[in-house]
């Protein structure tokens, strides 16, 4: 399926709601849960979930939720999670990814880490100036959501479920993750109540956000 066809599948508001619900969860989602999450019936949810799978937007697998197996264990449940596949559409056609990868390869080879981090911090400050003041974790969360990080509250910490630079960060992790941290540091530079730090975990963005310890008021 072409990227544009996959994206068109999300035009249906019910499907989009289901997709966003599944994508926002930290676990694989059953049909029942997805139906409840989107506030629709189970049969309708099943239909649209499978459309999303056909479009390559969700992945699915069958698993027994009870942990039992053999006769009497019941039918395995179908579980859904967001697909790792990326879909881009640009009209007219543009290819910034190839350019970005070539630039990153050269910057990585020349160890332009410090220069890139300085540029990223400037970008972070510009984003902050455009977004308005970031005063606390809630405003930070809204800004990060708008930039695609998909922040998720984990106790007193915001974890970023999506890396907006995913492909580049897999190919040039030291360079790109350092750039990402510097960008987010620039974003919160004047914010006393929020700090960012590197806390990489498998499958997530490398940065975690937390309330600053010296400003617990």
């Amino acid at each position: 399926m072409e990227d544009i066809e996959a994206i068109v599948v999300l035009q249906d508001p019910v499907r989009r709601q289901l997709y966003e619900y599944v994508a926002a969860q930290d676990h694989d989602v059953s049909r029942n849960e997805a139906a409840e999450g989107a506030g629709i019936g189970r049969t309708l949810a099943a239909f649209h979930l499978d459309k999303l799978v056909d479009a390559g937007l969700l992945d699915t697998e069958s698993r027994r939720l009870t942990g039992r197996s053999g006769p009497g264990a019941g039918r395995p449940a179908k579980l859904y999670r967001r697909s790792g596949a990326e879909h881009h559409v640009s009209v007219p056609a543009r290819d910034y990814r190839t350019a970005a990868d070539l630039l990153a390869e050269v910057a990585d080879g020349a160890r332009l880490d410090v220069e890139l981090r300085a540029a990223a911090a400037r970008e972070g400050r510009a984003v902050r100036d455009a977004a308005g003041p970031i005063e606390d974790l809630d405003t930070m969360r809204a800004v990060l959501s708008a930039r695609g990080y998909e922040p998720r509250v984990d106790g007193a910490v915001l974890r970023l479920v999506n890396c907006p630079f995913h492909v580049l960060s897999e190919r040039h992790p030291a360079l790109i993750c350092g750039m990402n941290l510097a960008l987010l540091e620039g974003l919160v530079e004047d914010t006393e109540g929020v700090r960012v730090r590197m806390d990489p975990r498998p499958g997530m963005c490398c940065v975690a956000v937390e309330a600053s310890k010296d400003n617990d008021n």
Binding site: A110, R111, D113, V114, R171, P173, A174, L175, C177, G178, L181, M198, D199, P200, R201, P202, G203, C206
Partner: protein, 165 residues
């Protein structure tokens, strides 16, 4: 138990002697990083010098300013998650402060039989192989990975481990 493991060597040319205060950011993190590695899923073994907890005292024909780091892992994923998805990444992003710009490959990966402890000599040979001939099943990097089967390890054993693991 898999019949093969992934060995890695990486080398770095020090910008300053290890005792230099400018290296403190690196040297002060060594014990923590090694502890994270020792506890990481899929970690098998790492090189330490006699009586030490790390390999920073070991020198090779690569030069007096070149320090080496060498370890063995169950899979590419376990090594990747340690190098790039743990506290190790924060040190890696500051590499330019402590190490010279490498002019050639500074990391090599290769498959070994399980229970084989690779020697530094063997590791340096693999690095030289990569530097001279480019990536091959005998010496490669993360971005040009070869499987254990490519390197002549029993593919049937690999399949079996993956399906039961």
């Amino acid at each position: 138990m898999a019949g093969h493991h992934l060995a890695q060597l990486n080398v770095g040319t020090l910008r300053h002697p290890l005792e230099d205060p400018r290296m403190h950011g690196f040297t002060s993190m060594l014990d923590t990083l090694n502890e994270v590695a020792d506890r990481a899923p899929g970690f098998v073994w790492r090189l330490v010098c006699d009586g030490g907890n790390d390999a920073t005292a070991i020198r090779t024909p690569l030069g007096a300013e070149v320090i080496v780091n060498m370890s063995v892992w169950e899979s590419r994923e376990s090594l990747w998650d340690y190098v790039y998805r743990s506290g190790h990444l924060d040190v890696l992003r500051r590499r330019a402060e402590w190490f010279e710009l490498p002019k050639t490959a500074f990391q090599v990966l290769w498959w070994i039989p399980a229970r084989h402890a690779p020697t530094v000599e063997e590791a340096v040979e693999r690095l030289q192989l990569l530097r001279t001939h480019g990536p091959s099943p005998s010496a490669f990097g993360f971005r040009d990975m070869y499987t254990a089967a490519d390197a002549g390890f029993d593919a049937a054993a690999t399949t079996k481990v993956q399906t039961t693991g």
